[in-house]
């Protein structure tokens, strides 16, 4: 038992060690220099990056959740199968392909990038919303109906709270992927921290690469952590046990 615990502690600190060594090494080599030397440019790109992610994600969530609710209503059940299959198919299409296609038809620029990211983010949210709503035990809906809940009360007091975990997880997945896809937005003239990374690739400049890649990575990890925290406070404690078992599948 103690050996197992030791092994896990070792792996954990080994991982931390690698990360630490990497940071020290990059720092000593001066690879972060751009962040300090071109602070204004860096901040501008960072702001652009965050804006790309936020605008596209909010739009996607704003459309995907109502759409997911709609296709799980009895009157629109027929739509569920085609919508889900389309979403599954769409999700296999790589983000770079979506960006490239959007660019060829809508031209380059911030709004093209937002549109591509928006399209790419809708799918995981939609899929998880539908899956989440479908996973709510029919007995709960029956009990609620039998006690005199109106259809909208069933949706907002029973279905949504009990589907909150998968829905939130879908939003988190979408936003984390979005941070990465937004780094490709540079290719279609959308700006963002991808600017530094691609410049670094072209110029073979470690400074550009690290000054772009590290902040993008940290941004993704921060958003992941932040949304996990939001999950924790919005998803009812009563669901936590079932949520933990659901994550594995």
């Amino acid at each position: 038992m103690t050996n197992k615990r030791k092994a896990s502690t070792f792996i954990r600190y080994f991982f931390y060690g690698i990360v630490l060594v990497f940071f020290l090494w990059a720092f000593i080599q001066g690879y972060f220099s751009l962040i300090f030397e071109q602070t204004d440019e860096f901040l501008r790109l960072l702001r652009q990056h965050v804006l790309l992610v936020l605008v596209s994600s909010l739009l996607a969530v704003g459309i995907a959740i109502p759409a997911g609710i709609l296709v799980t209503r009895p009157a629109f059940r027929k739509l569920e199968w085609p919508v889900l299959n389309l979403a599954n198919l769409g999700q296999t299409i790589p983000s770079i392909a979506i960006l490239a296609l959007v660019m060829t038809y809508l031209g380059i620029g911030f709004y093209s990038a937002v549109f591509a990211l928006f399209v790419f983010s809708i799918l995981p949210v939609l899929r998880n919303t539908v899956a989440g709503l479908n996973s709510v035990d029919p007995a709960l809906k029956d009990a609620a109906k039998g006690m005199g809940f109106t259809p909208s009360q069933i949706l907002f007091k029973v279905e949504m709270p009990n589907a909150a975990y998968p829905i939130m997880a879908g939003i988190r997945t979408a936003m984390v992927m979005n941070v990465g896809s937004a780094a490709l937005a540079y290719l279609v003239g959308g700006g963002g921290l991808g600017d530094f990374i691609f410049t670094g690739i072209v110029m073979q400049s470690q400074e550009y690469l690290i000054s772009g890649a590290v902040p993008v990575t940290l941004l993704a990890i921060c958003i992941d952590f932040f949304l996990r925290f939001i999950e924790k406070i919005t998803v009812s404690k009563g669901l936590r046990r079932s949520a933990e078992t659901a994550e594995a599948s």
Partner: protein
């Protein structure tokens, strides 16, 4: 009082899931709907709160046609308990219990005091459970909470769809007894779906037996056991129906009806409250010729033999 008048449910215009059913459940009684799966008992139950629309016929609750009421209002005035308890996992026990009062717009203090009342009624400590979530409770506790939730707004009528079906036999019989105690206090009119003849005999003031959507017999448990209306009922209640019916009678009933012979020899003592099914078991297991009946003060009143039980059963069957 609940009145079913020629109630029929037809799916796709073909099969009658419920076929021209009429009967009346008196105020404050428990009527058990009994039958094999697919006999229409659950469909009929769900027609009462209009979860299933009625194809033909009418259901009256206290003289009011359920179809004339707003279905949401109707449901809020009917308690509903289902087998899988249907507790909302995202809500605390208190929120679960007071969910209907909340829909009805009760104020907070009233809901809180109602919660404490109900928890006392079902025998759980309110403060221990208030902030807990359903998954932290045992199956028996969850089902008790389900019952408390159904009674929260004090509805005159309750529908219970195999409420104890998912519990193990020991907890089930415990909850059955407990629920009968509660019912003595609250006097609801209850429709109770079951597929278990023993449960029906224990719980029901009346038992309605269904087959293929049709009502086979509607009577008190005694009468069903003594005089099954047809072949189906007699098979369904089982060849041991006579022994089952003994469970409904106590030594006191027997003593009232038959003269007990004076005590001849010293033998095992039995109280007036013991049911006759147990008495039979004691005769068989322990090999006594006779048992000594004692009153509340443990004074011997007389003795009974196995023949007395037989005679008693015979007489009651004839009168029923």
């Amino acid at each position: 009082m609940i009145e079913f008048k020629n109630v029929t449910k037809t799916y796709d215009g073909k099969v009658n899931a419920v076929d021209d059913v009429s009967f009346t459940v008196p105020q404050g009684n428990i009527a058990v709907f009994l039958g094999p799966s697919g006999c229409g008992k659950t469909t009929l139950l769900r027609m009462v709160n209009r979860l299933v629309p009625i194809t033909k016929g009418e259901i009256f609750i206290d003289g009011e046609n359920t179809n004339s009421l707003n279905e949401i209002q109707l449901r809020r005035n009917i308690g509903y308990v289902i087998q899988s308890n249907g507790l909302f996992p995202n809500m605390t026990i208190e929120d679960n219990v007071t969910v209907v009062p909340k829909l009805l717009g009760w104020d907070k203090e009233k809901m809180r005091s109602r919660f404490f009342e109900l928890m006392d009624l079902i025998g759980l400590k309110p403060d221990d459970f208030r902030k807990r979530y359903p998954h932290e409770l045992s199956g028996g506790q969850q089902q008790r909470i389900g019952i408390a939730r159904a009674m929260a707004a004090d509805p005159p009528v309750m529908l219970m769809d195999e409420p104890f079906g998912a519990l193990d036999p020991i907890i089930r019989s415990h909850l059955q007894k407990e629920f009968l105690q509660i019912q003595k206090e609250v006097q609801k009119t209850i429709l109770f779906v079951s597929h278990d003849i023993d449960e029906a005999i224990t719980m029901g003031d009346q038992v309605a037996i269904f087959k293929d959507g049709r009502l086979m017999q509607y009577d008190a448990p005694d009468d069903i056991l003594a005089n099954p209306a047809n072949e189906f009922v007699s098979t369904f209640v089982g060849a041991d129906r006579a022994i089952k019916s003994l469970g409904l009678h106590t030594v006191a009933d027997l003593v009232n009806q038959l003269k007990v012979t004076p005590v001849a020899a010293d033998s095992k003592q039995i109280s007036l409250k013991t049911d006759l099914r147990q008495i039979l078991s004691i005769f068989f297991n322990e090999g006594y010729e006779e048992l000594v009946v004692v009153d509340e003060e443990k004074k011997p009143m007389g003795s009974i033999t196995i023949q007395d039980v037989q005679k008693y059963l015979h007489q009651t069957n004839q009168s029923a």
